[in-house]
């Protein structure tokens, strides 16, 4: 029973406003002063940093991108993943056949080659070519 009580406390805590930015009702979520612009960041993923230098021989790591903020959904500029979900639910209720279909933009990735040891100390050189990511929104 104590578990139940703690769970109840957690639930209460999550619905209480934690900082000013969340005190407004969800309907304000899209007001312009809420949006953090979508930005692409660059990061070098080092296999050494990941603690994998004992089995990955090459490369040292790779340059990667990731996104942060209110990134637009492939449908069009003003609709992002969150807005799209809200609209989809609403239209679905009133006129199901008009539900907009989300599209995921396939993105071709650069070919990479990785050289690594397997569990039996054999060495594997693998080429990863024709990698396509089917992702919606920011990937």
């Amino acid at each position: 029973s104590t578990g139940g009580k703690r769970r109840q406390q957690n639930r209460n805590r999550s619905t209480q406003p934690q900082d000013g930015s969340r005190s407004s009702a969800p309907a304000d979520y899209n007001s312009s002063d809420q949006k953090t612009p979508c930005r692409r960041h660059e990061l070098f993923v080092s296999f050494r940093e990941l603690g994998w230098q004992d089995w990955i021989i090459a490369p040292e790591g790779y340059a990667a991108n990731y996104c942060e903020g209110e990134c637009s959904f492939p449908l069009n500029a003003h609709m992002n993943a969150t807005n799209h979900a809200i609209v989809q639910t609403l239209v679905h209720l009133m006129n199901p056949e008009n539900v907009p279909k989300p599209c995921c933009a396939p993105t071709k990735l650069h070919a990479i080659s990785v050289l690594y040891f397997d569990d039996n100390s054999n060495v594997i050189l693998k080429k990863y070519q024709n990698m396509v990511v089917l992702a919606c929104g920011c990937h």
Binding site: F44, V45, L50, G51, G61, S113, D118, N122, K127
Partner: protein, 259 residues
Amino acid sequence: LDGNNEVHLGFIHRRLRTHEKREMQKEILSILGLPHRPKPNLSQGKYNSAPLFMLDLYNTISGEEKIPVEVKLSRYHSTTQSLPLATYQETAFLNDADMVMSFVNLVEYDRELSPQRRHHKEFKFNLSLIPDSEAITAAEFRLYKECVSRTIRNETFLLKVYQVVKEHPDREADLFLLDSRRLWAADEGWLEFDITATSNLWVMSPVHNLGLQVSLETSSGLSISSKEAGLVGRSGALEKQPFMVAFFKISNVHIRAPR
């Protein structure tokens, strides 16, 4: 990375947070199609000849997009002078392959039988862990031979490589001759033997994987040990250890489960 594996200065080196590290490891293993991170036993492996040879192949792949074949080959040899030399044929296999794998020789000790029986050296490789979507397009067995100065300058040896077909507890194994080659005592360098058919058999029927045997004779037909003929064995230099390499073509596309 640009063609020379140089990381663009714009990419920041940022310490990853613990949960980021965990998530990233999970994602990368999933992309690489690996169920878990390998834990190789590297007591002797890291600077062994096989990893050095494979690193050579990796360097060739990493730099090959912009370099025409002729220049590539000359550059390749210049870079590999101190490393095992790969032939033009191997570079052709490399171009076609989706995966290349080198296998550690499993025979822990160089079993040289007593003089009453023919000197021979055994080699065994474990090919049972190859993903079944991979098909071998070419496979080679590689041995390094050093110059033997002790013998007569123009002495030649006849080297024979056999596939072990059947073993018998009380007598010589049944063997199938794969290749034979006449070598000069003064020869030095890597010897490559095509074992594509044998490797395919081993992959399709692991019970038939009884390894290889190498035997040597002098020009007068006398059986000699591989060490006397200059072949480098387990006790030799790490970067000259014998190994096997196989080139694979993938037959189906790896689909990653969506997260």
